[in-house]
Symmetry: C2
Subunit: 736 residues, 2 copies
Amino acid sequence: MSIVYIIPLFGLLALLFTAVQSAWVSRQDAGNEKMTEIAKHIAEGAMAFLKAEYKILTYFVIIAALLLGYMGYSHHNSDWTIALAFIIGAIFSATAGFIGMKIATKANVRTAQAARTSLARALKVSFTGGSVMGMGVAGLAVLGLGGLFIALKAYFGAEAGTAEMIKTIEVLTGFSLGAESIALFARVGGGIYTKAADVGADLVGKVEAGIPEDDPRNPATIADNVGDNVGDVAGMGADLFGSYVATVLATMVLGVETTSLDNFGGLAPVILPMFIAGIGIVLSIIGTFFVRIGENAGLSTGAVQRALNMGNWGSIVLTAIVCYFAVNWILPETMTLRSHEFTRTGVYGAILVGLVVGTLMSIITEYYTAMGKRPVNSIIRQSSTGHATNIIGGLAVGMESTFLPILVLAGGIYGSFALAGLYGVAIAAAGMMATTAMQLAIDAFGPIADNAGGIAEMSELPKEVREKTDILDAVGNTTAATGKGFAIASAALTALALFAAYVGVVEANGYKLYNAINIYKADVLAGLFVGAMIPFIFSSLAIRAVGEAAMSMVEEVRRQFRTIPGIMEGTGKPEYDKCVAISTEASIKKMLLPGAITILSPILIGFIFGPEVLGGFLAGATVSGVLMGMFQNNAGGAWDNAKKSFEKGVEINGEIYYKKSEPHKASVTGDTVGDPFKDTSGPSMNILIKLMSIVSLVIAPTLAEIHGKYQTTTAKVEQEAKKPVAIEKTTAMLPK
Amino acid sequence: MSIVYIIPLFGLLALLFTAVQSAWVSRQDAGNEKMTEIAKHIAEGAMAFLKAEYKILTYFVIIAALLLGYMGYSHHNSDWTIALAFIIGAIFSATAGFIGMKIATKANVRTAQAARTSLARALKVSFTGGSVMGMGVAGLAVLGLGGLFIALKAYFGAEAGTAEMIKTIEVLTGFSLGAESIALFARVGGGIYTKAADVGADLVGKVEAGIPEDDPRNPATIADNVGDNVGDVAGMGADLFGSYVATVLATMVLGVETTSLDNFGGLAPVILPMFIAGIGIVLSIIGTFFVRIGENAGLSTGAVQRALNMGNWGSIVLTAIVCYFAVNWILPETMTLRSHEFTRTGVYGAILVGLVVGTLMSIITEYYTAMGKRPVNSIIRQSSTGHATNIIGGLAVGMESTFLPILVLAGGIYGSFALAGLYGVAIAAAGMMATTAMQLAIDAFGPIADNAGGIAEMSELPKEVREKTDILDAVGNTTAATGKGFAIASAALTALALFAAYVGVVEANGYKLYNAINIYKADVLAGLFVGAMIPFIFSSLAIRAVGEAAMSMVEEVRRQFRTIPGIMEGTGKPEYDKCVAISTEASIKKMLLPGAITILSPILIGFIFGPEVLGGFLAGATVSGVLMGMFQNNAGGAWDNAKKSFEKGVEINGEIYYKKSEPHKASVTGDTVGDPFKDTSGPSMNILIKLMSIVSLVIAPTLAEIHGKYQTTTAKVEQEAKKPVAIEKTTAMLPK
């Protein structure tokens, strides 16, 4: 039983690693005065964003916590502790974003300075920055989940198979709800912010005022650079924190339902996912040591990509090996979940399925978004006939790119279920997410290098510096795309596990589902339709918000140019923080409606139409969300790299085209359309589908109680007649 | 019982009306020599397309008929007659397209000539052309369904509640399969053709050769004008023929399963949908007399739109009234379907629900695509900042436009089911489609007027002529958009009815579904994912095909310019038919893969994974297909009208912009992107979802037999344990 107490220690280990690495980054040379001045503006801007964002989110957290506490209090099966767990989840998620932003705004300028020495040093600084964030997120998640589990177990006096254990996990779901809500706000808000600032800065600065890109006189330039940190670092950090917690939690919920005769008081299936997460931290730390290149490495992306791959594959292979022993040590030979028996060998097989699905997903995503491959080349060719054909080409690539990933995902669901039932589906996702720390390190180093490039440019450092950061940035673009493929696949599996958990909780709380979410029933099918529509309206609001927020930014910059004396001469200091605040407020305001739709729609559907219709709704939202996520992420990534291909020159029908050619202009249009796709609405899809499932899981007991009562009174008879549409009776008259 | 014999008479009445009206159109003045010359080229081109298309489709029909016949022969429950029914369905569908094309290529030039006199006459000629097509389609459908039903009933000696009656309906499903397969090929092929010709003609003619649009020296110009007839007339005719048949058939399949003590040998629920379709023809004929404007009507769209609305609403209101008496006359007071009892009042209510859903769908679609409304205005505003923001705006509008229609649709499903169970869902669709003849007349008059405008331009008729045809064309654009909204809604309801019918047939043939398509099961959920992906890959292939077919066209035109002497001086005659054939072959070749995916994927999924997974697959494809259809149709329509708005000038931030301004150029990009959306992939979605359901319904008996055997042997025990995931057993340990 004492194994439970080891888990938070993994989390503490990660945070210790974070602290050590963070101190190392801080000790690095931050360069000359101009560099530190610019870096300071970016850091201040990032902090201004955090301030504004957290202020608004505090209101949300307080209101939601009160509602949750009331629901917990009035509902016999829970109590006010769920509100506390929710608040802790929100704070942890916010902290994860904070850590990421802090280190990223330190590492950017130091990476620029390191790039004056060598590519190897620049990689070391930027990747260390990324790994601080990765370990911070993973450490907080494991510490939070493990620590809360111990505390709640003690508080409720819970043992396996008791009502108290159910309560423990129910309250833990509140933690995940807190984490995932903040993740949604951070991801969408950050996504709107970064693209609005990007477009806004370009429109006023380059077009209207005629000053170059990244010019410090433009108050929106800093916002633009802040945007990278806000969207790609903090947004992604909160996102992955939420995902990680949700995945582990989903497995725990199903684990509690699993009958297991083991050496851990029957809790082995609950402990396993947390333990794997903990072990994953250690393996990720080991993996980080693989990520290095020689001082004499040539100036090409090859070596850097190989180093990152070494770290990534290294930790994945290690996970596959270590999980074998962990599973055999912790789990008993057989377990039973909802009368389906499965073995620990099956569970290990499911973990391998998860790792394979994740790997294939990354490979396929890379194929669809990488330079030099058929999809991106087709967009390049279609750029030669204008803007419209470029757009058609990108949309076609995005839609096509759903084909293989969906087959892989469906195979993964089918395979992991066949190996270990519903628990298998959940643990496959947990296995996939085990190396989150490493994944995030690889993802976060990209925007750090990107920012370093910007700082190098603004500080007029020698050209070679920019060349080195550009190499890192290019590799970062690829890892960002594959990271998104990975995220959507794990989200799909997690959502399914949460869906299964939801069904269990509904049944357990007195609402009969007759073992099915039956889409053959008209009301459930109607729910499926409405659920599938949500990702469309969400995406619509998100991409439109980018356009409108950009306009707000434009107006603020115009105002500053008009009213601050000496701003164009460099004697008046632009009010960067005001610009940042305007953009922040606009983006947060614009993300309230999509956020509200995500959180409120399952509540409305559930309370009005009951648990089974909500089941249909969730299935629809999950399927459609996964497809829209893949479509938008990959279309955006492909457009981006089609545009980038013109920098080196591309051949279309025997002619070579470069930047500023007509086909290049068409490719810029595609890239701009792709920006909100791949950085705002697309990556929000995975949070959307998980958050809806978690909300449903949290309200499930109350929902089941209310509708269960209804079911047992007058409606019962009618319900019985309607529910299992009794085809048998008719078949008598049909031929056999 | 003799009421059955009345039904084909309605069909004959429609065909008689078709013949009379067609003769009237032929008698109209076809204008001067130049006009008839151009019209001849278009007619010849259209015929060349038909020849090429039908040649290729003949192979498909023969192979599919042989396979169907073999399946029917080897399967005890059916026989070779299904192959015959399939062939008849295919021939009828092809004939519907043929009739439409014939009359449209006659009415176009006569409309142009009539427009020399007055708007009222031009409307009369073009609308009469449209109604010939509408009545032709409806007449063939009612004649085919009614006649085949009578013939098969006699052939099998079928009575209500017997195996022979099941067989009758099963074979009739073959008729629908034939119709819907041709519909898919006609719609996608036509859609690719028209947009490829459009883009191809512009690229070589206007850009390369520098000759004006619609210049008869350009060999692709005729193909462009043929395209309007191929895509918007023949494609739509086959589409609506297939939809109409599928909708009536779906209700009949459920009607056969319904226990009904009535005066029609227990067949009242089977007869009702056919009878409503027949009555709808009469009411549509009456409705056509409302469509007229005064000789002195002003030159504005208002009067024309009002006249069409009169005809449309008139026949819908008449349907609502007449159905009340028809339902009360034909149906008994109560009936039972799958142990769910419902009343005839409920059935009438469901019909009203269908009419309301259809009406709301049209209104919402119009809102999202009409000039002067918020959505189109938002795209116009976003055109002021360039191509990219125009695209983002259109995509956002398209995605947003799924919101209300899905709520209406879900409400319609919920409401019609509550009123009369599954039969209610089916009859709601049938009610909605009752006035198909009228709908189609209104839809088809648009492209006729469009062609008339082209002929007027090419023949250098006075400007007032073009003004009048433009007014008709503008109204036609609106009716085309609303027609698509209507089509997708009725397709959704029809697919659901077919889905329900599929479940019944599977159960009846020895495969136990335990009364559910349970998406809580991993394999069914995997099927849901794969099904939902199909509309994405289909759309990807369709929109890419437009781009690639356009390139083939470009090459052929270049060849003719090079090799035909005197072509540019007007002395050498361009080979219009070669150009048409090239484009035809390219478009038909390109549509083979999407067609194959649509037809083969349910077969593969069904035979490999069994009937329940196929159920999940169908639900996924239906939901995703409806959403993708709405998204693409409405985005395309909105982009189109945003561009058209510039013709009269639009105000953006206080400035007025016209054609050739920068914002207008951006709007042209959106329009071009929207073309394949709204005319190729978007309108294919409704056929795709119905065709997949019909294919599944046709293979259901064989499928159930094969997997039923598997189910009863070794797998049975396991299946039993797995299927109804026995949550009850676990709930014992969970708190109440």
